[in-house]
Amino acid sequence: MFKLEKKDAILLLIVALMLIFAPFILNPFPENSGLAQFNAGYPDLMQRFVFFGIFAIGFNILFGLTGYLSFGHAIFLGVGSYAAIWVMKLLTMNILLAIIVAIIISGLAALVIGWISLRRSGIYFSIITLAFAMMSFALAYSVLTPITGGETGLQPKVTDPRILDSALLAGDTPKANLFGLDMTATYNWQVGDWVFTFNVGYYVAAILMFLCFYLSIRIFSSPFGMMLRAIKSNQQRMNYSGLNSKPYTLAAFVISGMYAGLAGGLMVAMDTQVGPERMFWTASGEVVVMTILGGAGTLVGPFLGAGLIKYMENIISKINVGVLHDWFYWLPDWLENFVVTIIYPFVGKGWNLTLGVIFMLVVIFIPGGLVEGIRRIINWFVKRKNISASREITDSDNMQQAGEIQQAGEEAASRGKNNG
């Protein structure tokens, strides 16, 4: 399928199914149950999963493959957003053009910033990108207010020229669309106590994310991707093997910048507004955390990391004192208060604290991220299954066969380890 190796094709298929059935997967709890607050299948959040999924997948092409740790990639998220909003103000509300322009402009920005930052490597590179992130925020926030709208940001107005669109009727508001298809159009499907929401904007974004993921697989399995890994591994050998590493790192930087630009453009396409906080330097840090949490250098890791963080940011943060008391009402009062007092700092506004703890645990115990964690669990099951199979046979006094099966199991386990 699509000129892919079987393993990659399966992965792509899984991601496609996840994207298609996300409204079901993310809404596992009935609407009226107490668990409904853990449902994440509403358009706004599903879209956010996709935006940050794309952002992290792109970032991973730079950081995961070449090892260059950029602390400035939210710049391109912001540049893409501002570019898209200006297309919507000046040209058309059709999101296709906005997204294309967002990718191009952020690519150009990445070319300039990458060309400068990549004169250094390691910590110096990271610090230069961080400096760019801070400067860009300052520019967007104050210096370039005529272009960026400063603190308030920008959004399309009825009075904007939009020379490619026909004039709006009186009382109409400009709506983001794809050749007339309204991005905010939503269909609710009620099945018993469950409500599943299907949103046009989400599916448009999901298709783009699918393409992004496909491109990422291509890069990972191409000679180009191999060169990026070589850069991470040993630049000295690369140079003495006749390769100039600079154009490769720059290409990776620009590609990841364009991914970020696409994500930024999509954000604008869906909620038609932008503010400078989108490129604040902590946003650049967030994508680093996403990538490492999910597994830097793996294909699905960054997407998983982005999903986990956005889920926590939106769902865990909603758990307040009242909700906690509801959960623990069955405890004796004094114990209930005690438990709530202990847990409360970690939920609600304190969700970052939980994230920090999870992040530390992952980095310390499974440095390969969530992907490595999943792989370990699978290997453990494979091994256990094989051992129990061999035990049964041992009981029936057939030692030799048991040994063979166990060996096969160990081989399978080690194969699993190597494959991933």
Binding site: S222, P223, R229, S233, N234, N239, Y240, S241, N244
Partner: protein, 256 residues
């Protein structure tokens, strides 16, 4: 071919290199003939590594020039010099430790084929059958077929050296530079490396080798230059060098 045998592949002409007041190399003239193995020996600090670094473009000479097949190398960058046909083996093997043996060799092969930057993302590694086959063949030739999918960082030192040599030779270089290829090796690994070098030599490869171990030098070299204090103090066949009083003195630290 008889005429070609006298071709000078590498010509180092009047090269000086000084670091501040220290003259690491002075008046170095060296001509390496095609198909010959030219050893450069000398006591520690004689300037052997500096000379090698000048050849590959890591250091620029203060004066003089380095010429490969009539083309000037001086002033070019290491990757450009490699593309012109100079491959280098380092004292501690420089490989891609996180990548598999096969990947290591394939990167080298891609570098040779594609030369400069190429954004070829529509080809998968598996579809590059030419490169795959070529890499597998040389890996088998170098006896690394059992380790082909192992992380190269986990190889023994002897195997790392073999891998590095394979990475250099898949590029079919015009000139192979060896920086102490047996440094830190066991006696057994050293003797297998000598056999390997003899084999490489028998293909007609032009080699410059820097080596401490005189046993290795006298086993493989056709010509030996002795460097001491940044100057070439003797040059000749291995037999001549072995008999030279001047060289013995240099090794005892009495030169100049």
């Amino acid at each position: 071919m008889a005429e070609a045998a006298k071709n000078i592949v590498l010509h180092i002409a009047d090269v000086h290199k000084s670091f501040g007041g220290l003259h690491a190399l002075a008046d170095v003239d060296l001509a390496v003939e095609e198909g010959k193995t030219h050893a450069i020996i000398g006591p520690n600090g004689a300037g052997k590594s500096t000379l090698l670094n000048v050849i590959v473009g890591k250091l620029e000479p203060t004066r003089g020039k380095v010429v490969l097949d009539g083309e000037l190398l001086t002033g070019k960058k290491p990757h450009e010099i490699n593309q012109m046909g100079v491959a280098r083996v380092f004292q501690t093997p420089e490989i891609f430790p996180e990548l598999s043996v096969l990947d290591n060799v394939m990167i080298s092969a891609f570098a040779k084929r594609d030369g400069a930057f190429k954004l070829n993302i529509m080809n998968s590694l598996e579809s590059e059958t030419d490169i795959q086959e070529k890499a597998r063949k040389i890996i088998i030739d170098f006896g690394l077929d059992k380790q082909i999918n192992e992380h190269s960082g986990a190889l023994s030192r002897g195997h790392k050296r073999r891998l590095e040599l394979a990475m250099c030779l898949i590029q079919e270089p015009r000139l192979l530079l060896l920086d102490e290829p047996t440094a830190g090796m066991s006696r057994h690994d050293t003797s297998t490396t000598i056999d390997l070098l003899k084999e490489i030599k028998s293909t007609g490869m032009t080699i410059v080798i820097i080596e401490h171990d005189m046993h290795v030098v006298f086993s493989v070299a056709d010509k030996v230059s002795v460097l001491a204090g940044g100057r070439i103090i003797a040059e000749g066949s291995p037999e001549e060098i072995r008999a030279s009083e001047k060289v013995k003195k240099a090794y005892l630290g009495e030169a100049q």
